[in-house]
Symmetry: C2
Subunit: 344 residues, 2 copies
DNA sequence: GTGAAAGCGCTAACAC
DNA sequence: GTGTTAGCGCTTTCAC
């Protein structure tokens, strides 16, 4: 049968208590016994039993703290949904979730919120935050204090996070291009690209993937302009309309940002030009409506629900196994959706 | 805090043992107390704790039996993968999986296998089987004996199963059509459809969804022929080559079956006509290779891994909650994939 | 038909 | 630094 603490206790000659302490890095155990026991556990193939663990820890919940820049960001609704699902699924097993929502990407506010979460006694963290030195420092500190951090949706390079859960932005761009190519290979492509912020890693990666793929396929294309909508509907509408006016040759639009899509739609409607071929990213309510109205042809989605769910699930897994250093990233799929996907 | 058996015991004046028995339909409890306690549980919002349950049941595992017609069917590899994942995830919580694989869809063999699974002491069943009266009878019997059944991939109409986990075939066909329309709206479509068996529910639904959607979009199309590949590569190659020879006008192919795709590829290669627009279904190794080689343009996939995983997960959930009658079906998404999805 | 109690695997509080 | 033990929520003997 499966190996339990008791087995390890018998096999090693020390008590279950000590075994438990050794396996959980409590530093109240002598270095040798700890090492010896961990080795033994390895050899015998000990796997902790979540049920036992959960039950005993009932009083002392495993709290995971979450930071989401989700205020006024409809894209995060599905991520939150996934988090809720994971929460109710793992409540049983001693997991508790505390969610802090902020508006936007202000580094200092993020740092402050992370501190709060820590003060609050969170045993692990899931963050959707900025790739910035201050944040990097934060995460490395957390790691030192043995608080594992998972990054959601937006990666932070070169920091000691335990895993990243999110999309492959570059591939997303590639797929948009491939789709365009398959659909419109018979005519020269005059493309307008709309991004949120040119400086946004994800958007930039999408644009790069998009361009590279069109080249790779030896497509007859020209990127007429790349405009910034500032993740804002009004601005997006404005810059899109301007661009369309000054480039009447445009015959397709690649919207590399999820935000501002409503402005994009408004611009296209205002120009009453639905002849464009339009590919957008990220499924939110507005996008769905625009697809249903045949204004957007395809959306390339990134499973936000799954991202929320998996972030929590991975953290739960991490906390119920003897400390692994680093886990595998969970990269969600780029899901192509069109009108029929949204009909009931 | 959360309500436990002990709370119910105090509140009702009977012992925990009795409460437990009442809540688990053991018939060793007087009808009134049982009813009273169930009512109380309802009112107080009692939710059983999986950890406690799992721990106490360690000796008495929750065995789920699985029937898959997976021998010589590469499509099932991913379903099995999902099952494995669920198995290792829920081992902790007292779940055990026993898998019986058969070759093909022989009704009597399926019935026999289901019996075996039952004899073996399975507490719940997940079946991928045929929509046939004998099977229906089987499932209804199981229901009477309080063994919940979940159907995977292939539904059985009008039987007392607890849920269905699988794709929406009709929608799959629609999406193939929509994709075709988006990609080739500028030319009259001369379509060859290849199915496995015309009698196969799923394939028929795909063809219907496909046709209906082309009509709805007022597409200029003609379905030149519908041929049967008998889920077999050799036959598929043969009938496809014949059809292409007698209908030289064909400019696109809709492969509504996952099996036989290798024969389809062979036929297209043999005719050295890669100018066709080809849409296939279900991702298996061969399909992937044909997409990579630009012989197939799009594949419409149905998340087999998720199907396997969710079937087990739902059964686990069902067994750890007080008996619900029927659960919600889990319908997987129709995932559009193209070359870039398969590149590392 | 019902109560009492043991025990599942694990952690933490308390001894020593 | 380590052993002992109570107890987490639940099911299941074993009495009565």
């Amino acid at each position: 049968m499966t190996v339990t603490l008791k087995d390890l206790s018998k096999a090693s000659g020390v008590s279950v208590g000590t075994v438990s302490r050794a396996l959980n890095d409590k530093n109240e155990v002598s270095a040798d016994t700890a090492k010896r026991i961990r080795q033994l556990a390895q050899e015998l193939g000990y796997v902790p039993n979540r049920a036992g663990k959960a039950l005993s820890a009932q009083k002392n919940l495993n709290t995971v703290g979450i930071l989401l820049p989700s205020i006024n960001g409809p894209f995060f609704d599905d991520i939150k949904q996934g988090i809720k699902e994971a929460e109710s699924e793992f409540k049983d097993l001693g997991l508790e979730v505390i969610l802090r929502e902020v508006e936007g990407w202000d580094v200092d506010e993020h740092v402050r919120t992370i501190e709060e979460l820590k003060e609050h006694g969170c045993k692990s963290l899931a963050l959707c935050t900025v790739d910035h030195d201050k944040i990097r420092a934060c995460i490395d500190d957390l790691d030192k204090e043995n608080i594992p951090v998972i990054l959601i949706n937006n990666n932070v390079q070169n920091c000691k996070n335990v895993a990243f859960v999110g999309p492959d932005y570059h591939r997303s761009g590639e797929i948009a291009a491939a789709l365009l190519y398959k659909s419109r290979s018979y005519e020269p492509l005059k493309i307008l690209i709309v991004v949120g912020l040119k400086s946004h890693h994800g958007h930039a990666a999408r644009v790069e993937g998009f361009t590279r793929e069109l080249q790779r396929r030896h497509c007859d294309f020209e990127i007429v302009d790349v405009v910034e909508g500032m993740d804002n509907d009004i601005v997006t509408q404005q810059v899109t309309m301007d661009a369309l006016k000054s480039h009447s040759e445009v015959n397709c639009i690649y919207m590399a940002s999820g935000s501002g899509v409503s402005g994009l739609g408004a611009a296209i409607i205002a120009e009453s030009l639905t002849k464009f071929f339009v590919i957008a990213c990220d499924e939110i309510y507005t996008t769905r409506e625009l697809v249903k109205s045949d204004i957007i042809d395809f959306v390339i989605c990134q499973e936000p629900r799954t991202q929320g769910y998996q972030a929590i699930k991975l953290l739960h897994e991490y906390m119920s196994k003897p400390r692994l250093g680093k886990m595998e990233d969970y990269i969600v799929d780029n899901i192509i959706k069109l009108k029929n996907h949204f009909e009931s």
